[in-house]
């Protein structure tokens, strides 16, 4: 996680409201207030005042702690509302 944070910081990303997707691996989401919905094909997250919908296959929540969330599986799309 520290490496990802370092990369994002150096790339000028907003670390408090950011997410990273790694194809065929999963994604890392920060500032996740709530997990609204979960199924192996769809995860709905509340990040700050946004609503993220993560779609894909064989999705699992690999780690969720202190608003950091790591999703494992094949992510095919992320929708921000």
């Amino acid at each position: 996680m520290n490496l990802i944070q370092q990369i994002l910081r150096e790339a000028g990303a907003d670390l408090d409201r950011s997410f990273t997707i790694v194809p065929a691996f999963g994604g890392y989401f920060k500032s996740v207030k709530r997990v609204e919905d979960y199924s192996p094909q769809r995860i709905v997250l509340t990040v700050a005042k946004m609503r993220l919908t993560v779609t894909g296959e064989k999705l699992i929540i690999d780690k969720y702690f202190q608003q950091d969330l790591l999703v494992r599986g094949s992510i095919t799309g992320v929708t921000v509302e």
Binding site: R34, V35, E36, D37, Y38, S39, P40, I60, I61, D62, K63, Y64, F65, Q66
Partner: protein
């Protein structure tokens, strides 16, 4: 991550994650399994998770314990088995140093008591560890015993084998001398198993003549040295004189018996009685068979 316990509850992911996040518990590997939800938490939060999902409707179970918990459970349920295995291992390791029996083999086995006493002094005792066994010392001390000509010490499992040979075994050496006769006469029978017969049945021989030579002849007539093995019977003549007061049947039998003392294989015998001063002289003449052998023991 190694100390993660996997729980399974009947709850929605949203509700479960909300409760666990509120309790500040990190959640790992959250998956849906039909109507059930499985997730992992650090083993230190087991009691907390059971408290969060205390209501019977959650039907909370531990699906997989952490490696440490599994090890602890494994050891506690198989305590006797582990103790037994440990004892077996200790026994197996220590058996290599243990001597259960000292065996003395070979022709010197009749010296067993003395050899075992020497072995005890050199650090080998039955039913005991013999880490300090000084095998060369044991060997040299056994060799120092009278008539011992060979000794070897070796371990075979829990046995200490001491192989001892005595000189008697080696004294029966081959005699490479030819077979000679020490009487003159006629060859009655001759058998040469090894070597070459220099005389045949019916030949006249004198004392000192070679009967079987310690050599063999090859096809070219060349002599090759070998040990002579065989025997020969020589028919020899001899006579004895005995004095008696008078000639009678009793004295005649006594004279003939005296000849029998000379050889137990008398083939012919005759006697003459000559008068002499104060009695008679019995002169018994007889033919006897004398056997000579070489390397037939």
């Amino acid at each position: 991550m190694n100390n993660v316990v996997i729980f399974e509850v009947t709850a929605t992911p949203e509700a479960a994650l909300k409760k666990l996040a509120k309790a500040d518990i990190a959640v790992y590997r959250l998956k849906k399994r039909a109507s059930r939800l499985s997730f992992g938490v650090n083993s230190q939060y087991i009691e907390k998770v059971f408290a969060i999902f205390a209501h019977p409707c959650y039907n909370t179970v531990i699906r997989r314990k952490s490696p440490q918990m599994r090890l602890k459970s494994f050891l506690s349920t198989r305590f006797c088995l582990i103790i037994g295995a440990a004892l077996f291992t200790v026994a197996a390791i220590s058996s290599g140093n243990m001597v259960m029996r000292i065996k003395v083999v070979g022709s010197g086995s009749y010296l067993k008591e003395r050899i075992v006493a020497v072995a005890n002094e050199c650090g080998a005792r039955e039913w005991s560890f013999c880490r300090g066994l000084d095998a060369p010392m044991l060997q040299s001390r056994v060799m120092a015993l009278p008539s011992v000509s060979f000794c070897s010490v070796q371990r075979e499992g829990a046995y200490l084998i001491i192989d001892v040979r005595t000189e008697e075994e080696h004294s029966a050496k081959l005699d490479y001398k030819p077979l000679q006769t020490d009487v003159g006469g006629e060859v009655y029978r001759i058998v040469a198993i090894c070597g070459t017969a220099e005389r045949a049945a019916g030949d006249k021989v004198s004392a000192g003549d070679v009967l079987i030579g310690a050599y063999e002849l090859n096809a070219d007539g060349e002599a090759t040295e070998c040990a002579a093995v065989g025997f020969a019977e020589i028919s020899a003549h001899a006579s004895i004189s005995l004095f008696y007061s008078e000639e009678n049947e009793e004295n005649t039998q006594a004279a003939l018996k005296a000849a029998a003392l000379y050889s137990d294989r008398i083939t012919e015998q005759s006697y003459k009685v000559n008068p002499c001063d104060g009695g008679v002289q019995y002169e018994v003449t007889f033919t006897y068979i004398k056997t000579f052998t070489v390397n037939m023991e």
